[in-house]
Symmetry: C2
Subunit: 389 residues, 2 copies
């Protein structure tokens, strides 16, 4: 087996460890209550009941009712189902979608795939902090608009959008509003009714639940086409044998998140602020994203004259796991579309570092990380032939 | 928690309990090696390595190479990706698909959805045993045919198709051949190369692995369009953060299946034959599906004058979990499309009972089940106002 030296994990936006209590909740559903939830016998009934209990929990967390929750394989599938689902269902009504230029690829690439099928997509710009102007959303609406999709908080720079206002603008025009809330559910309070949300994507593995499971909230009056066809599970919206241990795990993770949400927010924001203060003492460094309207656990930095991956490697050697941006794009080595949209100069975007805190993060870890970043930036700049301080 | 009285599970075609060794293999990936496989730091590298090791195992089981395996959320997604993936990718070449009338709904409903998008689908009939005539496949091929999809073994009646011959017929015409092998992978030896298979769907939870994970084999030269858009995981064919514990579980399940396949086949076929012999002593009963070319663990019976669900309930009360047909359709209470296609008279199709054996099945369980079926059929017939023996 692999080495297990003490390591500092500061990449909670990429994924989180599963809470041991969540694993405990899941375990019986692998070997004892292992039935297929569609089966009519007692094994099936047990599985079905466990699934419905989890559905109630997820619904409760966001102010929905259980029959508005569809379980999926994760955030990406939820985004795909929401966007393609509404687009195809409502294509007779109109073929225009409004989104932002800093959405997760699961939203952007789905929109792009629809563009090849006769849909028109408006990708709204953001300001230098990554904020979508609600007035721009209103102005982008046409008689052909069938969907507005704006994420709750950005996964790279942590900027929060005014989704309540966007939801209201959409509602006034009778347009369905979808939000990718993968980075916020369980971390920031959400009320789908108050926020006029028609569809909401969430993922289990971002909130200390297992990978491979997520959910899409679909408001009672919103109709979508399925994207997976088959046995008609999830009221025909998501065919596939239900992943009961995963769904039970998501339910358990939601229970824990619900209880901890306030304390987690406060604690992580406090540590994040210490991190930001410490790191910004480095000359020619900056904080990307909004200074205030941001996820409590996110800090995204830019360093002039630094290659982000080199800094990441330095931190990894110091036992610290962080990222340059999203995990999805890590293996692609491309400049972040989010930082580009914020107007971050290329030189700074290449030196970006995302630190995302979690429940286990301690003040000591933050102190150590601040030092390691100082050291890493200094060392890399000293090695650089082009850097002149 | 629920009661755990001794129960007999004979619905292994619906789902299987996860092997405790598989759970053990998965556990570290929930809490210790929990990284996002796309992350560049050590947590990510560990996850990525575990995923690639599992990919090798899956490939090895079916005679493929690792880079031909795409992990999915299960059999349904694999079928959807295979069929829609090829159809959309090759739509310029032609828009005709050949399949059989007894496919799993994940194939049939995907084909039907394509029919609404300008594709033409030929649903080949089967004979009274559920066998697709290879000559009919050949004759159905037109210059517009881009895909032939015929399942390896039927999930309800257990009939095996001559997929090697169908694969050969497809290959001769340069047409991609897909097989849904969800019921056979890990139970019956498969060699994708020898069988001329271009795409093969498999599912973890049918072979004592976890739910929520499966794979699609895509032969190196076969091009498909993705059905989930996003971060570009799985070489752009299946975006979504990879379900590492699930994938590791599938790999572990495959390892065990590979070792046990011969012994399992022999043992289960022997017990199944005892079951069939004992049950067919009931008057006006029959075995649905092929008498010889059938899954070693499947028996599907018809009883005149019996309602299948009533019999199922009787068995459930006797502690036996079985099914009338597929789990997917259990909650829909419709007559099986498979039995219809086999020409089973309605009266008999309504009284169908599927018993599917597993590794834990014992001779004692089979004896007890035979008695319980006799008793159930007799009791239900006595209660029936229309039954005359």
């Amino acid at each position: 087996m692999k080495k297990t030296a003490k390591r500092i994990y500061l990449d909670h936006a990429a994924t989180t460890p599963v809470d041991p209590a969540v694993v405990d909740a899941m375990l019986p559903y692998f070997t004892t209550y292992f039935g297929n939830a569609s089966s009519l016998h007692s094994f099936g009934v047990e599985a079905h009941e466990a699934m419905e209990a989890a559905r109630e929990k997820v619904a409760l967390l966001i102010g929905a009712t259980a029959d508005e929750i569809v379980f999926t394989s994760g955030g990406t599938e939820s985004d795909n189902l929401a966007i393609r689902g509404v687009a195809w269902k409502q294509r007779a009504k109109g073929r225009h979608i409004i989104t932002s230029s800093i959405e997760h690829p699961a939203v952007l690439e789905t929109c792009r795939s629809l563009e090849t099928c006769g849909f028109r997509v408006t990708y709204l710009p953001v300001d230098g902090f990554g904020v979508v102007d609600v007035e721009r959303v209103r102005k982008a609406i046409t008689k052909d608009t069938v969907l507005i999709s704006v994420m709750h908080a950005n996964n790279e720079v942590g900027t929060m959008q005014k989704i309540g206002e966007i939801g209201e603008a959409a509602a006034k025009q009778g347009i369905v509003f979808h939000t990718d809330a993968v980075q916020t559910v369980g971390k920031i309070p959400i009320d789908v009714e108050k926020m006029n949300i028609g569809l909401l994507s969430l993922s289990s593995h971002k909130i200390y639940g297992p990978k491979g499971v997520g959910a899409l909230y679909i408001r009672e009056d919103v109709e979508v086409e399925p994207i997976l066809y088959g046995g008609g599970h999830e009221k025909g919206l998501r065919s596939s044998t239900e992943n009961i241990p995963g769904i039970v795990g998501l339910g358990a993770a939601v229970d824990i998140a619900k209880e901890r949400i306030s304390a987690d927010m406060k604690e992580q924001a406090m540590l994040r602020d210490r991190l930001i203060k410490g790191v910004l003492e480095i000359e020619r460094s900056r904080l990307n994203g909004h200074p205030v309207q941001r996820l409590p656990n996110n800090a995204n930095f830019g360093f002039e004259g630094i290659d982000g991956e080199a800094l990441l490697l330095h931190l990894d050697q110091a036992g610290i796991a962080a990222s340059t941006g999203s995990a999805c794009s890590s293996r692609k080595h491309s400049t972040s579309h989010v930082l580009k949209a914020l107007g971050v100069p290329d030189a700074l975007a290449r030196g970006s570092l995302r630190i995302t805190l979690g429940r286990s993060t301690t003040a000591e870890e933050i102190e150590y990380t601040v030092s390691a970043i100082h050291e890493g930036v200094n060392r890399l700049r000293r090695m650089s032939p082009t850097w002149h301080s």
